[in-house]
Amino acid sequence: MTQIKVRWKSLRKRGRKMKIDAIMIKEEDNVATALREMQPREKAVVGIDDKSIEVLIEEHIPYGHKFAVKHITKGENILKYGEIIGRATQNIASGAHAHIQNIESLRGRGDLD
């Protein structure tokens, strides 16, 4: 299991705000939203308020799509806005594309009743 060390850095340098590649809403979130298209092996600066972390991207991430900011285990809740947006249907590596191929909704599931 490859778990990145979360090291928060300040986004402000000499009073200027650094450019970010992706955004997280709450610190407890395990996914971030890409603000530009990203390619494997890029280092993404993920902003949250005035802080940031770096995440090594593992897969192609289209603009506006999400990637895991830490390893997510199958069955774990996916958190965005600090709220549950679904559940992992398989392990999701840090930096991997987090979308319908590995996340299921817990609501409106007429197929499960």
Partner: protein, 386 residues
């Protein structure tokens, strides 16, 4: 803070001053459209309902047409009826005119066909427009704004920039004594606990949860996963993965004001402030519901670029997706993509949306009005076509 609107005899305020041409049944749409196309300053509302439906839905059609006819953006109303439909045309006409509004009716089967009905309707509408044009805009307080909140063709930018910015604008309108209506109950699924916390009291909170359960049960009754329908294929392409994620972004447009009341589809609020109205998320039905509830302006956020407005209520389009702003410029009114890039704060963007709403309320045209992209509307039905 003021805007310039048309004050009606019942005290409500229009941001537009149209003669409304309302089709009472799907079979009368062609004639209603034919009349409206030939007379300036008319606005035509067409839909797919009004016949072969259960009494529950016929009542819904009647009530919606009454609400639309009473909308303050209409100076007077011309109803266009086929003659054999289930819609209660007389009931609708009586209820609209009860508020002092002139209502005329054209019945295609009585007059004798589409061509003659269009000719008669055009002459009636011309006289009505002549009267309407005597109205002048006067200064009105922001408390006369009834704002409809809508998001469509959402992507992940929607919940990060335009929806929270619109929430700030909605809060500003409510602070000034105005009204803001949140529909799209489907898009509360997964976020309803947060909205219920905003309710004025426990009873309103429970009503919100009941509305969501009713909508979710209805969706689940077909026995399928709603993904693909909600979120839509386009939402998914835009990066939204589940209805929960879409909802958490969508409810941000309601801001932080308390939810004072909860209403069924198309029902006009009896209070000023933030209220919830039952409706699905699809554009034709929710826009109609907001207009029937008396909205005189609608703010509509979009990620991938939803083009439509409404025939007689200005719809302000707001996007936070810079690609959409560049590619669909002829449909977009406000660009808040700078929020995504950190160059503008949410409060700054919210203030800008608030200003835009007041300017549009005072007469500035939206892109949807200029392009006339307003025809494909409908009424939200609960039962089958029979």
């Amino acid at each position: 803070m003021e805007f310039k609107g048309y004050r009606r005899s019942n005290g409500s305020v229009g941001t537009r001053n149209y003669v409304g041409i309302l089709s009472t049944v799907v079979c009368a749409n062609e004639v209603a459209d034919g009349i409206s196309r030939q007379v300036r300053e008319t606005a035509c509302f067409m839909h797919q309902q009004g016949c072969c439906q259960t009494p529950v839905d016929i009542k819904r059609v009647n009530d919606t047409l009454i609400g639309l006819g009473r909308n303050p953006n209409l100076f007077s109303v011309l109803l266009v009826s086929l003659g054999c439909e289930s819609t209660g045309v007389e009931e609708v006409a009586t209820a609209i005119s009860a508020e002092g509004k002139l209502v005329e009716t054209v019945v295609i089967q009585d007059i004798g066909g589409a061509a003659r009905s269009i000719a008669e309707g055009v002459l009636l509408a011309q006289a009505m427009v002549e009267e309407a044009s005597k109205m002048e805009r006067v200064l009105c307080p922001v408390s006369d704004i009834v704002l409809g909140l809508k998001c469509g063709s959402s992507d992940t930018t929607s919940g990060l920039a335009p929806n929270p910015a619109l929430g700030i604008a909605s809060d500003l309108i409510v602070e000034e004594g105005g009204t803001s209506i949140l529909g799209e109950v489907t898009e509360f699924i997964g976020a309803e606990h947060l909205l219920a916390q905003h309710a004025k009291n426990g009873q309103i909170g429970r009503q919100i949860l009941d509305f969501v359960k009713r909508m979710e049960d209805r969706a689940k009754s077909v026995g399928a996963d709603i993904r693909g329908g909600q979120p839509t294929g386009g939402n998914i392409k835009g990066g939204l993965t589940t209805i929960e994620e879409k909802s958490l972004g969508a409810i941000a447009k309601a801001g932080t004001a308390p939810v004072l009341a909860v209403y069924e589809y198309g029902v006009a609020p009896q209070v000023k402030g933030l209220v919830v109205m039952d409706s699905p998320g699809r554009e034709p039905e929710v826009l109609t519901g907001l207009a029937a509830a008396g909205c005189n302006v609608i703010a509509f956020t979009t990620g991938r670029g939803a083009p439509q407005g409404f025939p007689f209520v200005p719809v302000v389009k707001i996007t936070g997706n810079r690609v959409t702003w560049d590619k669909l410029r002829d449909h977009m009114d406000v660009n808040v993509s700078a929020v995504m890039e950190g160059a503008e704060t949410l409060p700054e963007a919210g203030k800008r949306i608030f200003q835009e709403i007041l300017e549009v309320a005072s007469g500035r045209l939206t892109k949807a009005e200029i392009s006339g992209y307003t025809k494909a509307m409908d009424i939200y039905m609960v039962g089958p076509v029979i």
